[in-house]
Amino acid sequence: MSVIGWLQISLLFLAVLVVVKPLGLYMAAVLSGERNVLSPILGPVERGLYGAAGIDPAREQGWLAYTLSMLAFSIAGFALLYAILRFQSWMPLNPQGFGNVPPDLAFNTAVSFVTNTNWQNYGGETTLSHFSQMMGLTVQNFVSAATGISIALAVTRSFARSAVPTIGNFWVDLTRSTLYVLLPLAVLVAVAFVAMGLPQTFRASVEATTLEGVKQTIALGPVASQEAIKQLGTNGGGFFNVNAAHPFENPTALSNYLNIFAMLSVSAALLYTFGQLVGNRRQGWAFIAVTYAFLIIGVGVVYWAEAQGNPILSQLGLDPALGNMEGKEVRFGQAMTALYATVTTGLSDGGVNGMHGSFTGLGGLVPMFLMQLGEVLPGGVGSGLYGMIVFAILAVFVAGLMVGRTPELLGKKIEAREMKYAMLAVLILPLSILGFTAISAVMPSAVASIGTAGPHGLSEILYAYTSAGGNNGSAFGGLSGNTFWYNTTLGFAMLLGRFAYAVPVLAIAGSIAAKTRASASKGTFPTDTPLFAGLLIGIILILGGLQFLPALALGPIVEHFAMLSGQTF
């Protein structure tokens, strides 16, 4: 670890803090339907969409109708993407002549993008045509993120209003999130990315003759446009197989900065938007403080663990000064790789700029653990915010138990109904992650997919289901996930992680919105204080993390000690 490494890390966190307020206020305004700087251009588009789709933007929905709309839209998106992949060879813009994607891989990929996971069982440059990448994946990068923002917005409204049976209109939220938030930001970031060297062309590849006279085929494509929305929407699905470790997705230290900045800023700013809309900005800051506490400790552990190097290889004669460089790029080094790995898993982004599977035991434990905490640090665009609110509900409930009062969050009483839904939501993750991992670990055909034997093999399986369940999408790439078993079960884990979480959350929103908002009294436990932030950290650790410790002990922790003792498998 070096001072300069920490300086790089701190600068990024500071830069995000600077934009949290303006971006948060902007989103609060445009998502509430206020006229804004883009209205003259996008206003007609927005109204045109409502007209064509038969949507009355003034008409709000109850939670059930909102949920059904969200599900209907997700199903339509899945069907279209699945069809595009299955019929790829007959679609235009397929200069490499790729064939149709097989059914199980198409199912996995379609689920993966509709649920904002972007798990890659496909190798981008070797499987998918430009048409599939653009009309299929890029579209879901936008709208799955917009769906997340919409759900978060519905939850936010439920706290902001008093005794109202509706929580907003899904179609309006979806349209505004796409048009006014994601699209303009994506245009800005994509153009900046091209300036930094990301290709943006419809040529599939060029043939070069290297200085030593060898032919080298260099894959190209519309990379910048996809990379921009991949980060802004915390999607993480790369154009290329190795994601943002690829020099065309992430050519310089500066592009790496913009990658991390783009993924972190929207999710962090949404926490501020929440505070703004519920009339308590300090609440937004309290949530941001909680996420920063986790992220900074997480980066510290990864950075420290990776900078030590791999003693097994140091013994062979490698200088440990540069740290563990397996799976890492020289231009990023340890600090920027640790930062990327932590942010991408604290969020549900899942893009990578180094191979997490080649991290040391403890360095790989952190990304896994951050995902298992429920992807709330600050989580995916939208999904992180509503995940955080679920934990906040649990935290006020625990606080209420301790002092013997009815728990309240922002003036809304938390009662049995909300608690049941909140517990349902947080139990889905361990159930699907640990359940599928346990089954896979005893199935010989599933174990055959692992890349490194020993404890690392268990980590590979655990990481896969953690990533799928948390809708993250990053991987310990040693696992050959493109098999029928993994394609289907990871697909189900992703579906559970997204919808079995979002539906109870929307039910909570419906029930909260209907309650009368009480003003704070002397007996109210304030939720925008350092005390509450500390309690929330404890709740996230205990309720989110504790159940995973036995599994982590068998995987990454054993690997750590095996590495120290020079044991290989």
């Binding site: 097994i312 790029e329 490194t452």
Partner: protein
């Protein structure tokens, strides 16, 4: 559910056109007209021959060139049509064996002492265009000998090809292998 059908289908279709077609076309138009060099992959030409991309590593095996990092792409290293890392865990036998073999090769090429980590460990992309300045330095003697050049000349080229951190803070010091090798081949005055 049926009244959800129309907005679901219309918005899916319309947003596909806006974000899947309009958006990438707009970016492509801007990129190709304002920044064609970057948009087409930062390609490097020598005369009329396309040598490669400034951003993509390529393999060098002969004595008179600086060598890049090990690459885990298949079937051959530095396959820029199928990026890949090794994805091997720290306690992997295969990793240990591979690094042992690479170190033997570097030792045979006359590199003594502790070997820089990037010289023995493969990059995440398999296409890393850079090596650390340390790895470049330990290769100077070999390249100078193979080319019959004074070590000081080669050393000066390495210094010139070494890129520092942006603003002295962001990123890591590095040497672009292709640029360095092109500079080696360039006629000297």
């Amino acid at each position: 559910m049926l009244n959800q059908l129309r907005p679901a289908l219309v918005l899916t279709f319309a947003l596909t056109l806006i974000t899947g077609l309009g958006y990438p076309l707009l970016i492509t138009g801007v990129a190709q007209s304002l920044m064609p060099a970057e948009a087409n992959g930062s390609l490097v030409r020598k005369g009329s021959v396309l040598i490669g991309s400034q951003l993509i590593g390529q393999n060098f095996a002969s004595e008179e060139y600086f060598w890049p990092r090990p690459s885990a792409t298949g079937p051959e290293p530095y396959n820029a049509g199928a990026s890949s890392g090794s994805n091997l865990g720290t306690t992997s036998d295969k990793l240990q064996e591979r690094v042992r073999a690479d170190i033997e090769q570097l030792r045979a090429a006359g590199i003594g002492g502790e070997i820089p980590a990037d010289a023995g460990m493969a990059s995440g992309s398999g296409l890393d265009p850079h090596i650390s300045p340390e790895f470049a330095r330990v290769q100077i003697a070999r390249v100078a000998k193979a080319r019959g050049l004074p070590e000081a000349d080669v050393s000066a080229l390495v210094d010139r090809a070494t890129q520092g951190r942006l603003f002295g803070i962001i990123g890591e010091p590095r040497v672009n292998v292709l640029e360095l090798n092109l500079a080696l081949d360039a006629p000297r005055t």
